[in-house]
């Protein structure tokens, strides 16, 4: 006999576990299926940053809601997730960026975000070790922050289970059965069949394949991003520094002491390859030292890579699809960890009550991908 649930979630990263937790909070019985281990996809490979500085209303509001959720996560979920308001500074090294930043700051302020445009000298006051050669200014949001993706996912997962839901690891969804335009069940590699009237595609870099199982085409394309982490040094409260120059990158000091960071590759490496290159560590080290010369004395500990699941406009697709009962929360475009809690909460709310907390049409399934996120 097929075991049935109120909802089935495919994918055990931040999106799957957050959506599952908020559904469980509303009393639904949920089955989460993860083919590997929790965080094995993109979540466990992210560099832990959480920002609210975006350039579109729905993204700004979602990120602000996420920060609110991160802020009380320890209280609500009973686990220290290493959440800290360590802030983000977006650095402008050319006039065009200054203009863009001033414009986005004005928009962000409309939503009540505590963000300001600062001069280069003011940036140096916040980060005394910052090399401000060529720096024109930057935007500073002190309530942006960081948390541990492993602890956050663990906290959501254990609370989901506490609320009576199930998580199965190590079994891959291989098929989705749709009848009369409505989802009915999933089949897994082990041959199991699980039924539910609602199924959520939270499969990150595998989202396109999972969508096709239900006959839904999702414009999500994985892309390799490399990252590294250094050994730890005493915490100096260095916020996430986002360097937008051609040879830029972004990195933050973890509250546990290490510096973690990555840069957007000059030439896109499409696909789910998670290999590492020697070029990356040499180049990332150079770019980090250029901003914080003191990092010359810090050793790199590890490097890895993960997949950004890109949509054409850089915003996620969070909606019910063309198949009734088949939802997607995919195409995070590199922002899954930071947007995850609020997107999980919103989608869970929509699945139960058919209402969104605010206008989220920017993330609609089937939208035209015309506009582009300025702060991608």
């Amino acid at each position: 006999m097929t075991k049935s649930y109120d909802a089935i979630i495919i994918g055990g990263g931040i999106i799957g576990t957050a959506t599952g937790y908020y559904l469980s909070k509303q009393g639904l019985t949920v089955l989460l299926l993860e083919k590997d281990y929790l965080t094995a996809g993109s979540t466990g490979r992210c560099i832990t940053g959480i920002r609210q500085q975006f350039s579109t209303p729905a993204t700004i509001k979602t990120a602000m809601r996420s920060v609110a959720l991160f802020s009380r996560m320890e209280e609500e979920l009973g686990r220290d997730v290493e959440w800290t308001n360590s802030g983000y500074i977006f650095l402008a090294h050319d006039e065009q960026k200054v203009e863009t930043f001033k414009k986005t700051v004005a928009l962000q302020k409309q939503f009540g975000l505590d963000v300001d445009y600062l001069s280069a000298e003011e940036c140096k006051k916040i980060v005394p070790m910052l090399n401000i050669d060529g720096l024109l200014g930057g935007t500073w949001c002190p309530s942006d922050g960081q948390a541990s993706p492993f602890f956050v996912v663990q906290a959501y997962a254990e609370n989901m289970v506490k609320n009576g839901c199930e998580i199965i690891r190590g079994d891959e969804v291989t098929g989705i059965t749709v009848k009369s335009g409505r989802v009915e069940s999933v089949t897994t590699a082990s041959g199991a069949v699980y039924g539910a009237p609602m199924i959520v595609n939270a499969a990150g870099p595998w989202a396109r394949e999972v969508g096709r199982m239900a006959g839904v085409e999702l414009e999500v394309e994985p892309e390799r991003h490399e990252a590294l982490i250094t050994e730890g040094v005493a915490y100096m409260n260095i916020p996430m520094l986002v360097d937008y120059r051609k040879e830029g990158g972004y990195f933050v000091q973890r509250t546990t002491g290490q510096f973690i960071g990555c840069y957007t590759p000059e030439h896109q490496v499409k696909g789910r390859d998670t290999g590492s290159t020697l070029e990356f560590i040499a180049e990332m080290a150079r770019r980090m030292c250029r901003l914080i010369p003191a990092l010359e004395d810090v050793a790199i500990l590890r490097q890895w890579s993960g997949s950004y699941s890109m949509t054409p406009d850089g915003s996620p697709i969070v909606d019910e699809t063309s198949v009734a009962g088949f939802f997607c929360s995919v195409g995070m475009s590199g922002h899954g960890f930071m947007l995850g809690p609020a997107l999980g909460e919103s989608l869970a709310g929509y699945m139960v009550n058919k209402t969104w907390p605010f206008d989220m049409s920017e993330f609609a399934f089937g939208r035209s991908f015309g506009a582009k996120e300025d702060l991608a």
Partner: protein, 476 residues
Amino acid sequence: MRLDQHPILSFDRGKPITFTFDGKPVNANEGESIAAALHAAGYKTLSHSLKLGRPRGFFCAIGKCSSCMMQVNGIPNVKTCMVLAEEGMDVRTQHGWGELKNKPSSRTYPRREMPLLETDVAVVGAGPAGLSAAIYASKFGAKVLVFEENTKVGGQLIKQTHMFFGSRDHHAGVRGIDIGDKLISQLGDNVEIMTETPVVGYYAPGELAVIRDHRLHRVRAKKIIVATGASENMLALPNNDLPGVYGAGAVQTLMNVYGVLPGKRMLMVGAGNIGVIVAYQALQAGVDVAAVVEALPVIGAYQVHASKLRRCGVPILTRHTIQTTWGDGQVEGATIVRLDDNWRQIPGTEQDIACDTICLSVGLKPTVEIFFQAGCSMAKIPELGGDIPIRNEFMETSVEGLYVAGDASSIEEASSAMLEGRLAGLDAVEKLKGSSDELQELKNHVKESLDELRAGPFGEKIRQGEKKLQEEASRL
């Protein structure tokens, strides 16, 4: 405490130098690692743990455990067992992570081409296996580069003062310390050894990253032989992190490389060959050995080593283990306890032993990170030390052109490590430069020697492990 006299070794102390430890002057000699020099001056606490701030000392002495990380000339997290003391150095204890000092932003950090080192064969590790691989690969015309992270060449041989067993071909009757020199003298002109050059990654296909003179270098090699050795196992017991708890290799390094005593009175845990030999070496250096405890019902070491120790009045207590260690900031004693036939501690048999040194000789674990990173098929084989790369009879792993030799392939002895190194070196050069009768003959001979070495009762465990490994390999 530095040793003045030793029955086997003589220590050529380098020029006297002075550096500061937390602002206090410390006298040392050139050629001593910072950690060894501090030990000689009586400083056993080198760092403090991250979360609880517990004192940490010297444990492995070969850069693998990180408990000796200190702030040196302002640079945080320096492994002081791997860096030589220098005149005027500023050495500071770390409480958790080290502090980063601000630097003026004078440089522009331009993009630079990464230096490239090209070779036929790259060897990782200049211990007995790595040196043997280099000798035999170069003998048949391969250009070889050997990368060694330590300041000295010879791996663990540089601290083995005992004579080796076996046949002449296995250097029987020669002390380990002299075998290293012998191997070095056999290296051909087409071999270059780079010390203080750690290998930090494998990048497919056939590329390594090394750090040399503080710069990342790319190495391009047609064949790579990894002989990274092993690290010491820890034993789970209360206060096992107290300064004064050492791995057996670290005690050997202190006494036999630097001529520095680990302490006055030692408890040895483990009566395998290493435990018994190091206990005897401690006596030779003038350390009082309270006892050797061994959880197994029998002594694992060769009879001749165990008898030597017993003749000196050191009890070897089988079916005994260490229950706890105690001390205020460093080891002051340990409690040992008897075990029943089911390995349970027998209440009421506890015995306190006053000592300032606890030496753990409870096995080794192959150093295999590079094989995992390279994507080699791995197998967990307890008889050979745990996780190891699956390899064929000529030591090639499942990644073509990547070889393993020595303790990294299975925890055995230096004699077998040397033979494995020779096999890997010969196979690599055969594939690069073609075969010859001489090479084939040599290869067969080495193979036979290795089988011979593993014959007999002491090779039983290894033979079992090898059998399991072959089964795993056939499943690939």
